[in-house]
Symmetry: C2
Subunit: 200 residues, 2 copies
Amino acid sequence: MSLPPVQEPSTGLRERKRLRMLRVVQDIALDLFLANGYEATTIQQIAEAAEISESTFFRYFPTKEDVVLQDDLDPILDAALRAQPADLSPVEALRAAFRQTFELISSDERSRQRERLAFVLEVPELRARTVDQFFGATDLVARALAGRSGRAADDFEVRVLAGAIIGACMTVVLALPTAREDVDELLDRALAQLQAGLEL
Amino acid sequence: MSLPPVQEPSTGLRERKRLRMLRVVQDIALDLFLANGYEATTIQQIAEAAEISESTFFRYFPTKEDVVLQDDLDPILDAALRAQPADLSPVEALRAAFRQTFELISSDERSRQRERLAFVLEVPELRARTVDQFFGATDLVARALAGRSGRAADDFEVRVLAGAIIGACMTVVLALPTAREDVDELLDRALAQLQAGLEL
DNA sequence: TCCTATATGACAGTAACTGTTAGAAATTAA
DNA sequence: TTAATTTCTAACAGTTACTGTCATATAGGA
């Protein structure tokens, strides 16, 4: 089960070369950041290490932050969630979607991703950018809940429930860098707790 | 019931003058932002309009964002939450704390605050900065939950529950600009839904 | 009233971007 | 293969947020 690129259609040499170079730049940048710190590393240094111009850097990534943040996981999770059978409960569907998505990440890539996440959470500038991911995820879950319950996606109660679910997942992500368990196991525990009710 | 300054101790003339000027700058800056847009408004323009130097602006606010974001509400909410009687359920305590905090805001200030919130949510740079407020709020709630349930604040289940509560509140904040109801009413509805269980 | 501490303004400098332009490389057509 | 066209790239100048330094001014205390 290999991880397919999101947009297959444009498969010219130029596009593939660009994509490959883009990943290389991300890799080099992360190494530099981890070694010398985020602020201390300039885009000029990244450009020099990757042997591209600063112009090209900004054509690849709109901001310095995006060189760390950009990945293709969101649409994959989205697709996985939509692909879940309709008779699953919303939380069950989410649990399954998470599991499938994380299975796509190979085990050597997994430690790197974990390192990246820890770094994102500890750099204020990068951590801040995760808001929109949370908001987007809430939208996603709200739509899934709406589809499975027959209510509107902008229904207040649907949105509150979606927010509670994502909020719980959020704490898992935060706890991850210091936890010894795997992501999917912690997510599973959190969602199971929600399914069982909110009591302590 | 007037809104007391957070740090009473340093009440020198210099300090009061500084604080008053700081609020004036915030007010002028928000007007400029609302009129011309966040990015289009430079710090130079704000400084000129407020008749201070750019140096002074940055001595007041560490970043351009903070001139919009900085306020004293967080410690007040914190104090209100701590002041709730111990026999209230966690969610009940939170509802009461919210109600008390919002009562402190006078009605003419309230529309201004609402305008500000809508603006913060629509400017990516400002919206991004709300993450840490969410994380901080989750910590706050986790501690409150821990204190009321006799469990540790870093207990996994405590944190998941705190995350779910804050996640639900988050959707309320997001819905606020387009809602006709008041904040405290919507928060109350959301928290009541959580208390009743997570079903739809 | 003098002395000290702190706030302020002016200045120079850095780094993240933005926009433009010329040239190189890849795609398409002949 | 060659020619025409499109698209990617490098180089450059310019703007703005932000940092650090230094001289000056102003408030608080003796």
